[in-house]
Symmetry: C2
Subunit: 343 residues, 2 copies
């Protein structure tokens, strides 16, 4: 494969080269890349702002993550935070710290992934920069989105008797990661070994190319449902539920047999002697939405595809519990992936 | 000094601990830290958005930069980008990648600097995250500002016969860096040597604790002057002038004897056998403003403090020239600090 050194372009030339194919989609983007700052116009809408810093070796492992997938995922996890506010992502900026190890072609791959994500979700790239890194790849993405004043959903609005809902299924991204880690070890021991990914495309895609739940936000809006509280599941169901309950000053009961599990993920967990419910509770990176809705929206919620009701909100003094298949009550703990403890 | 391990707090606890003293100043900040995204309201104003990624060993050297100064500078350089659009910074997010080497007290120092910058410039901290880094310290700051539609100044508006103006003086930050580098080498050879910073407080402050030119933006507004083009000087006067001229499709002539130089910086340059004009042209990190104004604003510009007129805009075909003290013409080249070539 062709390898063009980054020094051929220099900082300004490189950003221009990597971003010139990106289209501007929104009237709210008055000025994108190329000045000291981007200029945006949100008029009567509210602005949602989120940012994510991804570090090689901590948040991603380039031995099994293709750069295009990495670019896609880095953008999508930011969009997910905007959807989690019941808003819509509109603009992103991308800053990179890159070492000599990377060629222009490598960065083109990364940006191809970002471009695909922007195209899929209708988001404008409006700024960013590149600089040298003496170590690994660093990706910093900031995303702006718009929300309507009376439809923005915070974490602190859950009320007693609200239904606890989740989109899609949980634990699949974590099982995809376990599979990739297993094959990495096999490959390290024998570099002739072909990875065994047979029939595991779904959990791999969940780990390597996650999607943000734009569809759920649109569907809720269409049905006239405004959740009382909402988050995206990046650290695991337990951790996010604890955030919602603590900020809303309520408790909850969720039911083990209601937690949506994918078949491939369950098979993988069995193969690896892991508990799939634990993976669903603590695995993280599913980028599904967890939200609470008022009981009177029960009938409406049933008409939305890909949503499961997994429990309900209780008084704060009743605590946060998972009710097992035999009716046993297990206190929810935040064991979500915490990168600070891993350093 | 006390050393509290970061793992004592965990990610969410750490951010809460570091940011709880920050005040919210703006009605436009509807929701700051603590949800999936911040919520902002800009109503009829336009939004300016800029972002910066700072990597240890590339953009800063902790052997001589105190963490509090680093925090201050990291915030201020982003404010500077917003002022360079003739706008006012309002909100920032701060993301950190931190290794085990850093204690909670270290991060408190860094945030104390960010807090001081926010207080000085009236900016709200509204989000961010912390994560582990296996290598050095990584700081990613995003800044939002507001601008009035007809007062935002781009790089591409310079017209023939416009005056080229700069604020403050140039080259001082670079000479401050040279002084710090010299003392670092002395200290490496003899760790009993006390650094010799006598009478050099101004150039050190310019390097370690730069200010953004809010005062100039306010003064221009007060006098009813809207520049035709503007940038902040982060990479050096030459590099920024080339950006303005190329985006505005014009040329320029600036005059060596008009370039504002500080006395301490000149003394330091002489001591180190360096050319102070070269430092002013290519040194960077001064965070002064370079801007062009229409000739009819000449009288008004004279009434603004701390601004020097250094030349004028010409037709594109006349090129970009520095006119020396003997009348010789030297073509301007972008030799600004380019971190990509240093990797």
């Amino acid at each position: 494969m062709q390898r063009t050194e980054i020094s051929k372009y220099g900082e300004f030339g490189l950003i221009k080269h990597l971003t010139e194919r990106f289209k501007i989609n929104h009237a709210s983007t008055l000025k994108g890349i190329g000045d000291d700052a981007a200029v945006l116009n949100y008029a009567e809408k509210k602005i949602l702002l989120t940012t994510d810093l991804l570090l090689e070796g901590v948040h991603f492992d380039l031995t099994y993550v293709p750069l295009k997938h990495l670019g896609y995922k880095a953008a999508v996890v930011n969009f997910s935070d905007i959807y989690a506010m019941n808003g819509h992502p509109k603009q992103i900026t991308v800053s990179l710290g890159i070492s000599k190890r990377f060629s222009v072609e490598d960065l083109e791959e990364l940006y191809a992934g970002i471009e695909l994500a922007c195209k899929t979700y209708g988001v404008d790239l409006v700024g960013g920069d590149t600089s040298a890194s003496f170590t690994g790849l660093t990706i910093s993405i900031t995303c702006l989105g718009e929300g309507e004043t009376d439809k923005i959903v915070y974490r602190n609005g859950a009320k007693i008797n609200d239904l606890v809902c989740v989109s899609g299924d949980l634990g699949s991204a974590y099982m995809g990661l376990q599979l990739l880690e297993r094959e990495k070890i096999v490959f390290a021991a024998n570099d002739q070994a072909a990875p065994d990914f047979n029939g595991m495309d779904y959990i791999l895609q969940r780990q390597l190319k996650p999607e943000a739940r734009q569809d759920i936000v649109l569907a809720l809006s269409e049905k006239g449902i405004v959740p009382t509280a909402m988050m995206d599941i990046s650290d695991g169901l337990s951790s996010e539920l604890i955030h919602i309950c603590s900020q809303s000053k309520v408790g909850c009961r969720i039911f083990e047999d209601k937690i949506p599990i994918n078949y491939q993920a369950a098979v993988m967990a069995e193969e690896l002697n892991m508990n799939i419910v634990t993976a669903a509770l603590n695995g993280g990176e599913d980028y599904e939405l967890i939200f609470t809705v008022a009981l009177e929206d029960y009938e409406k919620i049933l008409t939305v595809d890909n949503i499961g009701i997994i429990g309900h909100i209780t008084k704060s003094e009743h605590g946060l519990f998972l009710v097992g298949r035999q009716g046993e009550e297990i206190a929810l703990k935040a064991q979500g992936w915490n990168s600070l403890n891993e350093s």
